[in-house]
């Protein structure tokens, strides 16, 4: 199963400690890695089909990027293929443009039902995985809500309603991270997210991972969907959980 990492902070941060730990702890993920971030509101992704960590050694680029990337939002993914081929373009995160903004998306889970989904507006042309289709579905859903809601659509509501519909229409396992550089959405309907604020051992800001025991010996807080809910959605800004809802 793939794994996810995010850092969210009020100012630009690097993750030179937590990203390598993430790669090492998620070492069973053999099929690629990616790091997404923002610079002056433009999204950038560096990714590879190689292993991020193998036999005690980090991928050279991964390690260097962990030291160098500096952003209010950093999203990283290590891949264990369940859908689509093993190559660089199927490594996460992905980028799409929407609402005159760049959006970064990374996914962990298995949702074969959505592989048949086709978007009219958003195309990750080279990617044929469930994750690519999920990203397109989410942006389609948010765009539709924009149209329906008229003047001042609520982005959180749009993401929440679209995520609920995603799980209903295309049942599967979804943990995803979605950010436009102003806010980070984290959704989970399987496994969990572990969160840590104000780490003394790693970086400041808010750290998030799907890894069950977190990335340090500190007191990580677990968020998972409640029984009977379609999933839990959080909107994260800086080091705060701004909004949270069990869908």
């Amino acid at each position: 199963m793939c794994d996810l990492f995010a850092l969210s902070a009020a100012t630009n941060y690097s993750a030179p400690r937590s990203l390598p730990i993430f790669a090492a702890k998620a070492g069973r993920n053999l099929d690629g890695w990616g790091i997404g971030f923002f610079r002056k509101n433009r999204a950038y992704v560096e990714k590879s089909a190689d292993r991020a960590y193998h036999e005690g050694r980090f991928h050279d680029s991964f390690q260097r990027l962990a030291r160098v990337v500096s952003s209010k939002f950093i999203v990283a993914h290590v891949r264990l293929r369940t859908s689509g081929p093993i190559d660089e373009c199927h490594a996460h995160p992905f980028i799409l443009q929407f609402r005159e903004q760049d959006w970064i998306f990374a996914h962990n889970g298995k949702a074969p039902a959505i592989e048949a989904y086709r978007s009219d507006k958003f195309r990750l042309e080279d990617a044929v995985s469930d994750s690519a289709r999920t990203f397109e579905y989410l942006l389609d859903g948010i765009a539709a809500r924009d149209t329906e809601s008229g003047d001042a659509p609520s982005l959180f509501r749009a993401v929440a309603d679209t995520s609920r519909r995603l799980v209903e229409e295309y049942p599967g396992n979804y943990n995803y991270l979605l950010t436009n550089g102003s806010v980070l959405f984290a959704f989970s309907n399987h496994r969990q997210f572990l969160l840590l604020k104000g780490s003394k051992q790693l970086e400041g800001g808010l750290l998030l991972t799907t890894l069950e025991h977190g990335l340090s010996e500190e007191s990580w807080t677990r968020f998972a969907k409640e029984k009977e809910s379609a999933g839990v959605l959080m909107a994260i800004l800086g080091s705060d959980i701004l909004l949270k809802e069990n869908l």
Binding site: A10, T11, K40, N41, R99, E100, Q101, D151, A152, P153, S154, L155, F156, R157, N180, G181, S182, V183, L195, K197, G198, T221, F223, A235, L237, G238, S239, D240, I241, L242, L243, K244, E245
Partner: protein, 252 residues
């Protein structure tokens, strides 16, 4: 009645096209003005007890600040005689540090009783005007919810704080509360006018209490519905993250 202006953008942005118009349209408010903004996550406030508009001219300093201040979040307030302030310190915005952020606050309204509110936390805002007590009340509520539950929802805590405030101190509220990343705007009377500017204009949200807005664009009216507690807007960068009634808040 005083007036409010706020801007939220994805990157640092200058409100030079809106702040002078805001001042001109608020020219009946002759009792001072203030502009608040953030730089490196610190809040800065420039304010004055002088008229913002006099002799057919916007106050020179206000004009210059409008051109120079650049920030992801900018708030401004123009005071009316009813606001009670006669000195620079009485003018909004006010600033307080809590929950690991510096916060800015501007308010328009009329509330009975809250002038006697005694905060339980430090620091106090050392001016004798009731909007300072509103800010302290909100600060105290947010701290009581989030100081020991750091993974609680900030938005839900703001909703609870507003509900408690309305129950304890009924009145007319229209305020903006912002830290370096997020802006909360609440009103239970009058309206806010909202404009979403495209990328070519900074990809920003502009909010004001001026009823016709600040340009010929199509401004969106945000008004409290009858028989509700009021409307809350949560903005991050150029996005409205949440807009709803605090009585039915799905944030809780």
């Amino acid at each position: 009645m005083c007036d409010i202006f706020a801007l939220s953008a994805g990157v640092n942005y200058t409100a030079q096209q809106y702040l002078p118009i805001f001042a001109e349209k608020s020219k009946r408010n002759m009792s001072g003005w203030g502009i608040g903004f953030f730089r490196d996550n610190e809040a800065f406030i420039e304010k004055s007890a002088e008229k913002v508009y006099d002799g057919e001219q916007v106050h020179e300093s206000f004009q210059r600040l409008a051109r120079v201040v650049d920030s992801r979040i900018i708030v401004s307030h123009i005071s009316c005689p009813l606001s009670g302030g006669r000195h620079t310190a009485h003018n909004h915005p006010f600033s307080l540090s809590f929950l690991d952020h510096v916060w800015l606050f501007v308010h328009v309204g009329l509330i009975d009783g809250i002038a006697d509110y005694m905060t339980t936390n430090e620091p106090k805002i050392d001016v004798d005007v009731y909007p300072a007590r509103v800010f302290e009340y909100l600060r105290d509520q947010l701290m009581s919810y989030l100081r020991y539950t750091p993974y609680g929802s900030l938005g839900a805590s703001v909703v609870k704080a507003i509900r408690n405030m309305l129950a304890e101190y009924p009145g007319r509220y229209a305020f903006v509360l912002a830290n370096e990343s997020v802006l909360f705007a609440f009103c239970n009377f009058r309206q806010f006018m909202l404009l979403r500017e495209s990328a070519s204009f900074g990809n920003s949200l502009v909010l004001t209490s001026i009823k016709e807005g600040l340009s010929d664009n199509e401004w969106i009216s945000i008004s409290p519905e009858p028989d509700t507690l009021g409307k809350l807007l949560v903005a991050a960068g150029p996005d409205v993250l949440y807009l709803g009634d605090v009585a039915h808040g799905s944030l809780l």
